[in-house]
């Protein structure tokens, strides 16, 4: 990113399509607006936008679409507050505001030389920020011949991208393991238990694997523990962090986490860079 981007004002983007993923989560496809620096919208997997509703405010939302298809700008939004509720209540044809893309993304161009395996661990709506990276891995089989996705949600209803998960399961070079914390009375016949349980059960070579992790912070903690237990080095683990974010441009100060601004230095960090901070509470 250039050091010369003077920007404050969002652009409008028309909502083309809205798909319900779970009771409170929607995937919104926007017509791609110009990027923050004025040119064509281009994003790296793991980057986010500030999505806004005029008069209400903006929220940081990771881009969940395919980086190879920049004409459509896709976000998956869980309605948890007044702004995300207004965003997910927007009808196709209407406009949202977009500022972005911001932040450092997944290591899609820098996975370590010789790394032939990718393991993706996602919890709940932690999967959408990882999907652009998965698209990238699937589109580059020579570089990434083996991709494993471990995905967990609280219950079967909360699983997002269900149709796509089925498609991925059928692909020969992709292993997909899905689990839910509680099956309830849903008729779920799959695995039950937390996603971190799966890490000890799948086969991968810890010396050759690069791990990408996104989910609630408690799930991150246990995932990192399990990955390290399996012998994956912290330098080969990438993790997406979340903090309160109001501007995306490193000015508002809210997203500070130790010396880092999550919006600029993250949201994706290499685990060995942040390990010391990860162990501290209330920072």
């Amino acid at each position: 990113m250039s050091a010369e981007v003077v920007v404050n004002v969002p652009v409008q983007a028309r909502l083309l399509e809205k798909r319900r993923e779970s009771p409170d989560t929607f995937t919104l496809t926007l017509e791609s607006p110009p990027s923050i620096s004025g040119g064509k919208f281009f994003f790296a997997p793991g980057q986010f936008n500030m999505l806004g509703v005029p008069g209400l405010g903006e929220v940081p939302i990771s881009i969940s679409g395919d980086p190879a298809n920049p004409k459509k700008l896709v976000h998956t939004v869980r309605a948890v507050g007044n702004i995300t509720e207004a965003i997910t209540a927007t009808h196709p044809g209407a406009c949202l505001t977009v500022r972005g893309p911001f932040g450092a993304g997944w290591p899609v161009d820098q996975t370590r030389t010789g790394s032939k395996e990718i393991i993706v661990v996602a919890g709940g709506v932690g999967l959408p920020p990882l999907r652009p990276a998965i698209y990238h891995f699937l589109a580059n089989p020579a570089l990434y011949p083996v991709v494993t996705l471990l995905y967990g949600a609280r219950n079967p209803l909360d699983l997002v991208f269900k149709r796509e998960l089925e498609q991925w399961t059928k692909r020969s070079r992709m292993r997909v393991e899905i689990t839910v914390d509680r099956a309830g009375s849903s008729g779920w016949l799959g695995r039950v238990g937390v996603v971190t349980n799966l890490i000890g059960q799948v086969k991968f070579n810890p010396d050759r694997v690069t791990a990408l992790v996104c989910g609630p912070e408690i799930m991150l903690r246990y995932t990192l523990m399990e990955l390290e237990k399996r012998g994956v080095g912290p330098a080969n683990i990438y993790v997406s962090m979340e903090r309160n974010m109001q501007c995306g441009t490193r000015f508002c100060g809210h997203c500070q986490w130790g010396p880092y601004f999550i919006c600029k230095d993250g949201p994706v960090f290499r685990y060995d860079h942040i390990k010391d901070w990860f162990s501290l509470q209330e920072i």
Binding site: A3, V7, G57, T249, C252, G253, E282, I283
Partner: protein
Amino acid sequence: MEALPLDEKINDLKVVLKVEDFQQLLDALIRRDYQVVGPTLKEGAVVYDSLTRVSQLPAGWTDEQQAGHYSLKKRSDQAYFGYGVGPQSWKKFLFPPRITLWKQKSPGEAPEPAELPQDAPRYAFLGVRACELKAITLQDQVFLTGPFIDPIYQARREKVFIVAVNCGQAGANCFCASVGSGPQVTQGYDLALTEVTAAPEAYFLVEVGSQAGQTLLNEVTHRPATGKEVAEARQVVERAASEMSKSLATADLKDFLYTNYENPYWAEVAGRCLACANCTLVCPTCFCTSPEDVSDLTGQVTEHRRRWDSCFSLDFSYLHGGSVRPSRQSRYRQWLTHKLGTWQDQFGEIGCVGCGRCITWCPVGIDLTTEIRALRQAAATLTAGTETNPKSDER
């Protein structure tokens, strides 16, 4: 201010501006379309506000500051700049406390910037102290060094004309000398004044710091300074430096703070801290903000504003149903560790200029220089305890 390289001659130029000709300086700035802002008395304090006459300056007044205390009192002379720094800093002009960033005239229309750079106010700051100049350069790093640049700050900063003033006395809460930001102004000004009151006739020794400063000075009656006058002016600043009683040892501060997140003394400070946010608002370098989105009654016209915010509020770190820093201890620790520690990783130096405002305006008089010493003491005691009591790990 203009960032033109100065030739040696200008840099060395020292002239005398007589007190009776001081108004000419303001007049010259006003003629050049500057909005002059400088110190004036208001609500029992020296604050920064618009000025047109030197008679609006706090001549003959000074202040008395202690931890949690500020009051004005009369001086024995008529010095214009015979006070320490007040509750306000210049950040309120370059980085306004409340400002609209963009507007949308109707839901169908694209958002537009609320202010174009050419419409930003053109300020001349009169009376900027060395610590405050340093604070401006620290905010420059925040807003102008990327990856994104703040156009609000940039537009104001590029236009500003700075008349700095060397300090002739140190306030009781000043510690600029120990953090290397004062009391002598060394760079970043257009003109720098040293007010000499003790001589038979009071005068300003003026130093030129930019081409713009030189040009302006040409419109003001002045004469070359004598060696004696230069020496007198130097003594003024030396007196301020020698008066300074507070200090902050900064050498290992980052490493110390990074290894002291769990220092038990944080709880002690938190027991006194009210989390009122005064320190962050008076701090000339604190830069945190929160957005405010508003609409008119019809809901058609909307604005996105930003206002100063503080890491001392619970809402500041709100995430998924709760604050990331629920305890007051964690919020005080965040503020102090950011200011003195993590700021160094973010911007290359500490975020404190030693102005002492956070000490003066803390309602319970928390003094960060004392707290850092107490934290060090607590850490030392803890280490000593571990060494002498090897069984302490068995708990």
